[in-house]
Symmetry: C2
């Protein structure tokens, strides 16, 4: 049995399940401060005999195994969680292998194994919600290099009729600054969910998302793209995204039919927690391999 | 002994060498029409006893092993080479394993094995010349998904004082349309090589290249970035790229010292041909593995 944590900025989802991503028990708690939240997390998992725990965390996080701060949440604006040593705390409580990655990388893994990209060795999972982030599976593995991707902060061209200045504290009018949930609310004076029938709202949103997809496709060439997160529950935005993207790409590369290529999550709200269960299983397998290779 | 071809739009470099990327003989011929160019290529390689041949080709090319047109050059503007079945022609002439990838992916592989990214399992190689293209090594392997990347065609924000309309036949003012060699010549009325002391020219070039690097870093997070191609021989552009990039990123992610992170090719003009030699070796190893797994 494996443990999984989807650590979000507003809530933590904890679950136990098997190596095939099947969840048997779960608990949802609000994200407060580490002492409080982690006490609940640890009590929950102490009820079970676990082989390993996988964490898909909000970030930025340190995923570099060579780094002295590996396993920490790093420069998050949620001050109580800044420099929180996530992996260390779990290791100390359970003495088991801990898998650790971004929430969006976990979601990409969940979708590749069991969701809308099942059977593919390559996919991109994008969440558009309180922020914009993305994770990717490339050649069957989670994309990681110098650090994890931060795809929400790429630049897009502003729409000539959009005077909104942008909301990203670092880049102003980057993709997240123009198209995440808080930017929508700020620009139009209401949350996206209350603007469902406003064609202008979703056409502008699609204008920015399509530009981002163009960059992701030209740079990563994923085999499928999954658009998740609260804002993307407004399904009326999808056709408009396809239209803008077609116009932008101008047939330069051949792509699958867009309505089959750019889709909603196959696992609904469970992409991240399911992927975290796979992260646990991977951590367990790596540990077994390490022990056997080193004859421990 | 292995054969390698760096197939460019203006010239073909052919070489023979070993699995460590050491070249022993080479030949350079102009790219004319397939019948003529390939006759010379085949005569050159027929002098040797080869285990396999690796090709790093101009594109776009079909690299999908499942595709009926795998191994072809596809929608190139060089009409004589459109739909040219590169792998098929070499297979028929030599009955040996043929490695096939883009010229820039080959260059990225060469640089990762033996050049400026030696020892790293992740790097990005960008060429800025008659076009703009990039290849990447991710987790030790060449980046490939639905197809190969086409990173030169991403969108950048136009400089407010740049009235040039852009030269890309597909996207007008995409990165390649604004910043490749022909765009520089078209905008300023002279080739870049004759504009070496024009600060305004290289500052504008750096403005566009830095934006592209920001997108590549946020999406791929490479461990090192190599800037090759004719235009990037104007080394005076590098400091200006660092300045623009720092301003754009605004410390959102921590990066290595930029002058060590974004560098010139370690292999000079030989990144592509060296990488093609590694492609040959990979093709040979895959073939051995396939034969043994299938007990042939």
């Amino acid at each position: 049995m494996y443990g999984a944590i989807e650590a979000g900025g507003t809530k933590f989802v904890c679950a136990v399940g098997d190596e095939f991503g099947q969840i048997t028990e779960r608990m949802v708690i609000p994200t407060t401060v580490p002492e409080e939240t982690m006490t609940e997390v640890i009590s929950f998992f102490k009820q079970y005999e676990l082989e390993a725990i996988g964490v898909g965390s909000f970030g930025p996080i340190d995923v570099n195994l060579q780094s002295p701060t590996y396993g920490n949440i790093t420069s998050t604006p949620k001050l109580a969680w800044r420099d929180f040593p996530f992996v260390k705390v779990l290791k100390e409580a359970f003495q088991k292998p801990i898998g650790f990655n971004t929430d969006v990388n976990a979601a990409a893994l969940g979708e590749a194994r069991q969701g809308a990209a099942q059977g593919l060795d390559s996919c991109l999972y994008i969440t558009v919600g309180t922020g914009i982030g993305a994770g990717a599976v490339v050649g069957g593995k989670l994309l990681q290099g110098w650090s994890h991707p931060e795809m929400g902060h790429i630049l897009v061209r502003r729409h000539p009729n959009d005077p909104y200045k942008g909301k990203c504290p670092y880049h102003g009018d980057c993709l997240e600054g123009l198209a995440a949930g808080p930017a929508i609310e700020d620009r139009w004076g209401e949350k996206g969910v209350h603007l469902a029938d406003r064609k202008d709202v979703w056409d502008l949103e699609a204008y920015y998302i399509a530009q981002a997809l163009m960059q992701y496709i030209f740079i990563l060439s994923p085999k499928r793209i999954i658009l998740g997160g609260g804002v993307m529950k407004q399904k009326q935005v999808f056709p408009s995204i396809y239209t803008h993207l077609k116009e932008l790409m101008n047939n330069y590369v051949s792509l699958p039919e867009l309505s089959e290529y750019i889709v909603s999550p196959g696992l609904g709200n469970d992409s991240g927690i399911t992927g975290s269960l796979y992260l646990a299983h991977q951590a367990f397998e790596n540990d077994v391999k390490f022990l056997s290779e080193n004859k421990i």
